[in-house]
């Protein structure tokens, strides 16, 4: 097991290097002058531009720029934003909000996704199975931003149960609706996944054996059907935690949450390469680490998986 973990971590290194290089190339090698973007409409003095270029290493060849970025990133020194604030401070200020939002969405989708999925799978073919299935299909086909607007309108404006937008330092109630909106699509996928897993395990041979041996219905469901059905669900959930952080961009914009997604959006709009690259790199890292944990978890949960 220890060897397996080590090997997986080592395998992660080239992936992270490749991904950061790709992002760096996409942000910096494409058309558009960051120095011009920095000044916006104002005219740029050549000497000032040259100084900024050397300060941000923009005058060096691309690969050197990337290596310098990597070197600085290792010491958590991501440079400054155009406004002069250290990038790491901006990230540290915005990240906790997004983590809170993503975790709430995670709990929401895990809890309701699994519960509805189990009901649906155990009672396959009944009317509430159909209702759950149709609702989950609808959630998948309606884009998150539409779900967000509708939620905002119904709960925030019409019935006034929940706050319409979240301001600075949002509390639990402020984030409740955004979290549900953010987790809604994944919840629908979890319902579908749990449903098929439960339905196929329900008729598995070992379940029939357990029943034949006189095990109670409850024990069969809890110990045999659910345990086996939830392995793929756990792995899906784990991988999803990483993508929730990226998906938070839309939700944060709709509900005006000052999290990492909103910060990234602002950075992109202003053409702030350094900030953009730093945040995207961070999000990708979270995603890769989540996937690694899922792979390891899978090996623990399912003894049939061999770590070669």
């Amino acid at each position: 097991m220890g060897k397996y973990v080590l090997r997986r971590i080592l395998q992660m290194i080239p992936v992270v290097l490749g991904t950061t290089l790709l992002i760096y190339a996409l942000v910096f090698a494409l058309p558009g002058d960051p120095v011009k973007a920095m000044f916006g409409e104002k005219p740029v003095n050549d000497a000032v531009a040259a100084q900024i270029r050397s300060e941000y290493n923009l005058d060096k060849p691309f690969i050197v720029q990337y290596l310098l970025f990597l070197k600085n990133a290792l010491t958590l020194n991501f440079g400054n934003t155009f406004a002069g604030r250290p990038v790491i401070d901006v990230i540290a200020g915005a990240f906790p909000v997004t983590i809170k939002l993503a975790l709430m969405a995670f709990v929401f989708e895990g809890l309701f996704g699994v519960i509805f999925g189990i009901i649906s799978g155990l009672k396959k073919g009944t009317w509430y199975d159909s209702v759950i299935l149709i609702v989950s299909l609808l959630l998948i086909s309606v884009p998150t931003f539409v779900t967000g607007f509708v939620g905002q309108y119904l709960f925030g404006v019409k019935w006034q149960i929940l706050p319409v937008t979240a301001g600075r330092n949002p509390g639990f109630l402020d984030l409740l609706m955004p979290a549900c909106v953010l987790g809604s699509v994944s919840m629908a996928y979890i319902i579908r996944l749990t449903r098929t897993e439960v339905a196929s395990n329900k008729t598995a041979d070992y379940v029939r054996t357990a029943r034949a041996k006189g095990m109670s219905n409850r024990a069969v469901t809890m110990r045999h059907i659910l345990r086996n059905s939830l392995i793929p669900v756990v792995t899906y959930l784990g991988a999803d935690l990483g993508s929730l952080m990226g998906g938070a961009m839309i939700t944060e914009r709709i509900f005006n949450i000052q999290g990492i997604g909103n910060t990234l959006w602002q950075a992109i709009l202003r053409g702030e390469g350094t900030l953009t690259v730093s945040i995207v790199t961070l999000l990708v890292l979270v995603f890769v680490v989540c996937n690694l944990i899922v792979d390891l978890l899978y090996a623990v949960l399912d003894p049939r998986i061999r770590y070669e």
Binding site: L26, S141, P143, Y189, S243, G246, F287
Partner: protein, 326 residues
């Protein structure tokens, strides 16, 4: 022949001692079930025609096929469904409620929402279809080559796939597309979505090619002297297509949603192109005043995506009854 004849056989014939009787169970007279019988006069049905038979009887398939055909018709011949011009807008009509000739009412600019919803179909569907085609070509090729040739080819291609896999579709698309913010087009959106979308198809193709390559008939055809390249195209790819088709169908819906999301952020399709995403985005501020303006393009979008997801489900059920759906 009666059961009695079976049950008591003559001892001498059975070789048993005198006085002993042997019980022989009667032959079960239950006829073979219809399913078990094979009509040998007919040529064997291929996997595809078998799948088509299952598919035709699936109500899910019928519903989604009807919807998809309808959406395609609207996309190709929008003028059949409306006489209006989507770009003809009169501020005098701004936010006017629906009337018999304009069932969905008007938006803020005074454009007919029904006409715009009809004309928006083409843009959304083109992005979905073109991206899917591109993704299947790129992902399918990379996945098939990696899975079939294995070794260092697989190692290199798999690492490249891992790198792209680490960037979520929407995040990558946003980073790239914001650079073309002032000059977007349908093709740019398609290319960018394909750039980050091919990974899932590549992964599925790779594993399914690896599975298909080890089947006996491949060993046989290779032993008979078929070259590796020809074998790949003649046997391995046709036999590993099924999961790819399923993923492609379902992804088509995802790409349409992604396009709408990008248009909502203002970096998707240009505003000159009539699209659902753009119209939804424009209607977002009107939610409190005129929710229907947001409702109709969203409904059209949802129905289209739903149709493709249901089609994916139906195709999967037909091609692989044992497969697990997500």
């Amino acid at each position: 022949m009666t059961a009695q004849n079976h049950a008591i056989a003559t001892p001498s014939a059975q070789g048993a001692l005198p006085g002993q009787e042997r019980y022989v169970a009667p032959i079960e007279e239950t006829p073979l079930k219809e399913v078990d019988s094979v009509d040998e006069s007919q040529p064997a049905r291929s996997m595809w025609s078998e799948a088509w038979r299952t598919l035709r009887r699936n109500p899910l398939f019928i519903v989604s096929a009807v919807l998809i055909v309808l959406v395609l018709l609207v996309a190709i011949f929008p003028s059949l469904f409306t006489k209006g011009n989507p770009n003809y807008c009169d501020l005098e009509n701004s936010l006017n409620p629906s009337s018999p000739s304009h069932p969905f009412g008007y938006d803020l600019q005074g454009c007919d929402v029904y006409t715009r919803t009809i004309y928006g179909t083409r843009a959304s569907l083109s992005v979905g279809v073109l991206t899917t085609i591109l993704v299947v070509i790129i992902g399918g090729l990379i996945g098939a080559v990696a899975g079939y040739f294995g070794g260092w080819v697989d190692a290199v291609l798999s690492r490249i796939t891992d790198i792209f896999y680490a960037i979520p579709l929407l995040l990558g698309a946003i980073v790239v597309l914001q650079m073309f913010r002032t000059s977007t087009s349908i093709w740019k959106v398609v290319f960018v979505l394909a750039l980050f979308g091919w990974v899932s198809v590549a992964r599925i193709t790779r594993s399914s090619v690896m599975e298909a390559k080890n089947l006996e008939f491949n060993t046989a055809s290779e032993a008979l002297g078929l070259s590796r390249g020809r074998n790949l195209f003649k046997h391995v790819i046709p036999n590993s297509l099924a999961p790819v088709i399923v993923v492609a169908t379902t992804s088509l819906g995802t790409y349409i949603v992604s396009e709408a999301t990008l248009s909502f952020l203002g970096i998707g399709l240009p505003t000159t192109v009539v699209s659902w995403g753009g119209d939804i985005s424009a209607a977002q501020n009107l939610l409190r005043v005129a929710p229907t303006v947001l409702f109709w393009p969203s409904l059209a979008l949802a129905i289209t995506v739903l149709a493709f997801i249901m089609m994916g489900d139906a195709v999967r059920d037909a091609l692989d009854p044992k497969s697990r759906s997500l």
